[in-house]
């Protein structure tokens, strides 16, 4: 029984890593661009399909680097063509535009790659279980969690120590002021959007290695990512990371005891958090209101 609980909790940790990576990208875009990016799940799947197509040519590791960059390039085009026009309008419009975009992307991916699930080949040595008792702890799963934490750390360093990062944080605090100080906020927001999309891409490739690819793979991950942001607190990277991991593990443990409630529990956690502490774990008071 204990092993069963550990097994499910560990599964939850993996899925939670995907939630966390998604939530971090969403949270970046929500912060500086002021957009709830409904197409995030679409970009995630797109990067995974890019990786699927690239693996025969450049191998898993090459695809892991190139595919998010390609997804980022598509993200840049989308930002230039659609999102940029909506910055000055009510958030309703960017929400609906990205929602429509999500439909288009899903449909096109289905047309190009088919509705059938596809496997993403991962290196053999990552597939080995680490020990015999804990058969479910494969190298790949450890790799997923480690990469989620590492890339969050890298993003944190970028935001903390580079000029781009300082500008992104300053823009979150007061966009008008940094515009007045001579920062090109349009360029900054494009860069930020692409950065967020690349996180979605990373999540997509990692998830595809574990769960396989379908055009709708983003659908089941994007909602928990919203919840991760609410639970962790808007505007906090650490919050998004922890929020994702917490709801992932909670959902996993629930699977061990009462599988039917494994999804609902995520929303219950959010409800409790909203009642007890509306700003989330690490959220700042009064942000985005």
């Amino acid at each position: 029984m204990l092993l069963d609980v550990i097994f499910n909790a560990f599964n939850g940790l993996i899925v939670g890593s995907f939630y966390a990576l998604m939530a971090i990208g969403l949270s970046l875009i929500l912060g500086l661009n002021g957009v709830i990016n409904f197409a995030h799940g679409g970009f995630m799947a797109l990067a995974a399909y890019f990786a699927f197509t690239l693996v025969p040519y450049v191998g898993f590791w090459g695809a892991l680097i190139i595919a998010p960059l390609l997804a980022g390039a598509v993200g840049y085009a989308v930002e230039q063509l659609i999102i940029r026009r909506l910055y000055l309008r009510d958030p309703l419009y960017s929400l609906l535009a990205t929602f429509g975009l999500a439909l288009i992307m899903q449909d096109l991916m289905r047309t190009i790659w088919g509705a059938q699930g596809l496997p993403l080949a991962i290196p053999d040595f990552l597939n080995q279980p680490v020990s015999e008792v804990y058969f479910f702890v494969t190298g790949y799963r450890i790799f997923v969690v480690a990469l989620a934490i590492l890339s969050t750390g890298a993003l944190f360093a970028v935001l903390r120590y580079t000029r781009l990062g300082v500008r992104i944080r300053a823009g979150n605090a007061d966009l008008e002021t940094i515009a007045a100080l001579g920062v090109n906020i349009y360029l900054l927001r494009s860069a930020n959007f692409v950065l967020g999309i690349m996180f979605a891409g990373l999540a997509g490739i990692l998830a595809a290695g574990q769960l396989g690819l379908t055009p709708t793979m983003g659908d089941s991950l994007i909602m928990p990512s919203f919840v991760a942001i609410v639970v962790g607190g808007v505007g906090s990277l650490l919050g998004s990371l922890l929020g994702g991991l917490i709801i992932g593990v909670a959902s996993g443990i629930t699977t061990a005891f009462y599988p039917a409630a494994s999804e609902v529990v995520i929303y219950l956690i959010m409800g409790v958090m909203l009642i007890v502490r509306p700003r989330g774990l690490f959220g700042q008071e009064g942000l985005f209101e």
Partner: protein, 308 residues
Amino acid sequence: MNRDKIVMSVTAVLLLTVPFWAGYVGGYTDLASRVLIYALAAMGLNLLLGFTGGLSFGHAAYFGLGAYGTGLMLDYETSNTLLALLVGTLTGGLAALMLGPIAVRRRGIYFSMITIAIGQMFYFIAVRWNSVTGGEDGLTGFSRQPVFGLPLNSTQFYYMVLFFFIVGALLLWTILNSPLGHTFVAIRENQKRLTFLGIRVDRYVALSFAISGLVCALAGGLNALLDNFASPDDLRYTLSGDFLIIAVLGGMRNFWGPLVGAAIFVLVQNYVSAITQNWMTVIGLVFVLSVIFFPLGVLGFFRRRSET
């Protein structure tokens, strides 16, 4: 104003006579019922969205609760269609009344995210609670029963939908022209100022949330009766998105905007899905293009033209 009256009269005559001409223009009566049902849901949502300024992305949940409530009543409890519809409507309305206060704890974009998430909770309950809801296959096994001895074929059911559409529209119209409605609009225009005036903004937004949820639930109940079926998709956030685009497409600052939006959306969806597999791309393009080029919606567009 005179032109408005002419347009209203023509619309009223058209709506009253749908079953007689729908077939001649390539439509059918059930399609017109669907237009009215989606219009009613979007008008309910629009009380919150267009008139109170609350961007909810989860109103399909209340629509779906209305559908499941109505269907379950007919399945297990009663053969009285109207009673089932009443219970379904109240179920959705009650859920909105209870969840509104949680959602309004945050405002702005954050409010949208929370409403989506709350909506998805009901979706997963419907999918997972197999024994009651029928799970992913949806709720079947019920059909609309005669009302006052009248069997409800397509035409008669259309008039029943039209009746409830008018009831819902009258309710919303009355509210919007009462002091309560003026408070809602004032919140949309300047929330801070109302707070300073001592108005408890949260409570009013939650009330608007509840009323709009109630109207959505009524529409959902009618939708279940139209199909004799309730699907988990009735609760899903994609349907919430459809209701939003219906309101925006028609013109969310106009009372009748959602009716125009629903007519366009339902007809386009019906037509496009019949001719191409890639209908999702077309619907997606409707979203993107209307948001970029017609932010005021069809009615808003014409109104502005006539004013200038």
